[in-house]
Symmetry: D2
Subunit: 360 residues, 4 copies
């Protein structure tokens, strides 16, 4: 193994830099291998200066830093890329250009750090002849085949600390405090931080809720002497009955922003006579220094990905299983997204300690 590439795709997650650093250090120290960094996801291959040597000196000091020194793509799907041709927007397939550009680099392996979409394209590239190894990146914990990925633990700590802070002010003032958290399709962050922070109500995408049930829960708590309630709400949580429009008209892609579900729930509670305040934590959850666990996991992923590549085990993704690092077929990871098991131990535990999911 003489020459490998590494890229990061999709949204930010604390720990990306730790993976990159471990890839560079392991490849250099253990395999005497040359590493190329690719800028802005797959697009770097077709950009001037988008492929550049990455040395131990380049990764010095990046372990505790959020973000990614490589940047990530934001030009969208390579199969349907919007470009301006003669002043008009057209949608074209640039995937062949990218595959050819990768082949031109004559890499012994390409390590792709990314989420569902990025890994899906990695699998396609393997089918088209590129020796890929995947590293799962999912702050929402929605990739199958791995217990968890880096970034999730950091997001949990941030969300839980925010809920802790809301507790004291809720207690002093007899209010309902709503905190809207990340999770369009998977409620793991909200479920885990809601339990860890002592929320009274948890609303997640996997369990459609009734607004009146939520209000009843808050009023019941009040009747039992608990003057305040904390509600942890995933951005993707939805009422059973009726529509929530939280996007601009015409949006193709979900854009979490103000006016979302947290506000809807808040307005309902206020209409039921409950003084309410709303926090939208937003991208604060995705940034900043990774937790110790996330750095540890990201480092092991990066090192392990290099070892998997050295063994020529391509089309595979490194994964955490029972506390150990292993690797699984990329297809297994992307076949079906992971969701909260609504009948599982975690939800049962939450209900057991008195938390409402708004559907009782």
């Amino acid at each position: 193994m003489k020459r490998i590439g590494v890229l990061t795709g999709g949204g930010d997650a604390p720990g990306l830099n730790a993976v990159i650093r471990a890839v560079v250090k392991t490849a250099t120290n253990d395999y005497g291998c040359h590493v190329l960094g690719i800028k802005n996801g797959y697009d770097g291959f077709t950009m001037p200066g988008g492929v550049f040597p990455l040395t131990a000196a380049d990764v010095r000091g990046i372990l505790p830093r959020g973000g990614t020194i490589l940047g990530t793509a934001n030009r969208g799907n390579p199969y349907a890329r919007k470009v301006i041709v003669n002043g008009k927007e057209e949608v074209i397939d640039v995937s062949s250009d990218i595959v050819q550009a990768i082949k031109d680099q004559k890499l012994d392996a390409l390590i792709v750090i990314g989420g569902d979409g990025t890994l899906r394209f990695a699998h396609d590239m393997f089918l088209r002849g590129i020796p890929v190894v995947g590293v799962p990146k999912t702050i929402d914990n929605d990739i199958h085949g791995t217990e968890v990925s880096f970034g999730f633990d950091t997001a949990l700590n941030i969300a839980t600390e925010a809920i802790d802070r809301l507790h004291t002010t809720a207690e002093s003032h007899q209010r309902a405090m709503i905190i809207e958290l990340m999770g369009r399709d998977a409620g793991f962050i909200t479920l885990h931080s809601g339990v860890a922070g002592g929320a009274d109500v948890i609303l997640i995408p996997e369990i459609p809720f009734k607004l009146e049930t939520v209000a009843r829960k808050v009023l019941e708590r009040r009747a039992h002497g608990s003057s305040f309630s904390i509600l942890a709400v995933s951005e993707g949580a939805r009422p059973i009955d009726g529509e929530v429009t939280y996007n601009r008209p015409g949006d193709q892609v979900f854009v979490p922003r103000l006016g979302g579900i947290g506000q809807k729930v808040g307005e309902y509670l206020e209409s039921a006579g409950i003084e309410t305040r709303v926090t939208v934590l937003g991208h604060v959850q995705r940034g900043g220094t990774p937790s110790a666990f996330d750095r540890w996991l990201a480092t092991r992923y990066g090192s392990s990905a290099v070892r998997v590549a050295a063994q020529k085990h391509f089309d595979r993704m490194v994964a955490l299983m029972n506390g150990m690092i292993t690797d699984i077929p990329l297809l297994d990871a992307i076949a079906i997204p992971k969701r909260v098991d609504v009948n599982g131990d975690a939800v049962m535990t939450a209900r057991g300690i008195g938390i409402s999911f708004g559907n009782e």
Copy 2:
């Protein structure tokens, strides 16, 4: 001095418990004095069980805790209290009842920890014969006569850490990140945390801004190679030109909530082709464990208030001046609210390091 009372009024601020603890410990240790806790602000005096002995054992372990063990009032102004009489809401003046109830307690001093409204009523009570000593509580730093009060430093740390986290994700994704912070009328939290967190644009109530100036600044940064921008926005910031309606129709009192100024600015930026994300930090800024400085200041305030009371210096408020604790007439503190000096050293410093206030 045999018998003093202590109460907390108004919004939550980290450090309230530290003041209460210092009052109890100092009064007990240094003066052999009995302390009474008053529940829920002034209302405790007229509530069953609202006045109760507060001992060293009661304040054990509360130093690092946010909130207030005494609770704060949320029944509003004693001069215009809404009550239900024969099924109808009436507005009555309950101030005389409260003053009489305080007199019945035969206190040698009443230590009142609160903001503008609470201190104003304290001064009125003094004029009606109650021996009051004030402790300023203002998370927004809007009380005159004291350099700062407890809670502000904690709020700054929370806001600055949030801005730090937004930095990494903004850098990776080429976006404008807006963070809406506390400050209806005074922009200190936004100004200080914006500078400390490295914001590019700071919008505060004291400096009306133009939306197009804000967008131009972001686009100029982009033209100079800075793909991202961070905007720190006070909840009370307002455009020069035009109305922002952020409250429910009919609101008498400002209720910070979703749909506020952060969203307005975000919508404008998106309409100018700038991808934008918004965080509304909300009450997260008011809660949780106080910073070291806030505990230190709150403890000194509490101890000092007892000493001021022992010297029978009533109608005064403890204050921080040049790093020392002193006391000033209550009237001086409440006469005029403190605001950011728009021509002062702090704003000049911010402009000097390249920050825009949206009015250039």
Copy 3:
């Protein structure tokens, strides 16, 4: 199930209160069961007032708090308890008294939260007729059969943050910085936080080291332009060659204190011309608010222990396996302590990114 007891034994670990809270809430909500708290470990059974009702109100607000509201034993082994009889110290077996006192309580189950020693006694008690369920408590991660237990993640975060802070000051001043961390027999905290914090040398009990190898590594880094080095050292790390006496003469029990291995290594480095500073983090690692993960795990443990008890699965311990909560025989957990696998993936990863274990 009508009546269960819960106790905490051994050293402090962040998350104990979260387990207690989950036990009380789950037993009360899901089983209508009465819970008794036992003070100071097993000793509470034979102490006046040592067994008392524990209600939902008692566990309110304890989720984010370190320590244990029940206290832990510090009177030592029930089989060899030191007591003063007629002015002389005698060693007696008090285990039968304790077992009888437990039987007198007519508990349907006793939930025992503790480490190796506490769980070992729990198994003995089961053999003597007590219906026990164990919950593993090990901040060092040295209990078999569970991936990890609560407290470990919190300790990691604290240790990693301390290493982060040492980095900047080491960089500015061209020094070796030693940080002595918890771990008498197991090096997990030092290994994980050393990797997460970017340490250059990691010394753990499982891998005896040579002082000259450690100094050589620091000097080699210097020769390659890295002016500083960070050394993460377990309190139980030992040189291959020669004795380190770190206890008072006559100590029966290890008492981690100043003058330990961190200092020894520091003195050696200084004798080799390397300016060195030492931090001993000590009990700071065991205290304070648990991390989100630890609260989540502790809550699941507590709830699960109640369910295991309700199913009358005694002599078992709840455990985390592959991210799920399960239960295993107590004997399996206590048969053999868990240690860092010196040939495993984790150590290999650390070596791969250039970390020395001082035995190369």
Copy 4:
């Protein structure tokens, strides 16, 4: 003003990078002035490559980072510099070389960020013709003429959080917990964080203590039902009676290390039958990201120093007075070091809330 230099001298303090950044940004934006960075304190002037252009791009992203991008001197006093001449160590005066090298740079101003020693040499340089402006750097808060400097607040937060963590574990285990903190000659960090963290005993250099008084305090607390005690001890605290040797024989310079005063006190307490644990926080207090206040203050200092230089007010130091930035003669700052006022309001407050200084 066309060309200014900036250097950092002495020990690390969180906020150095924030000053450098503000100097560069303000000089560039407001004065169109060229900034030179000087490496490793004054030594940069006489080192190859030690003087280099510092642009806005160089200071991007350094605001939240601890340490200093310029490095600090560690070759000691320019008046008595140890050098190796013909294989022998000699002590020579290199100050004239440095002054000449500075003159050769033809700077319009030299901004010197440093502590007592660095500022003293700055004043000497002014007398020898160099246009200097000082910025006070003292994590210990021991420089006169300024309320406080950057770094102190960060150190306080770190120390206070560590004391918080010791509380929970002390409570669970009935122990005395000692924490040794920075402060060789000035006890501000220990006093402020001891009060903020709720310590029971505070030992500082300004107040010599008796070991038996310390032990008596702990035993009295025990007699009154407080099973634990927290002792915050400055590294420079000393008993009234008798010697504490904490350095290697022959040390010319104080080297805080293990075996210091924390251990001495711990050994005494254990000999008095009190189980004790010791934490030595060490350089953890000097590193890592600065607090919001320290960034804000450091930024104002940096901007202000440039304005003072532009007005040709040399031989002066920027300072914080009553919350405002001002400037004072360098001589006033270095004439006499600042110490805790043993009869002042702060110590009185601490005693009033029941804290012992070990000299009662």
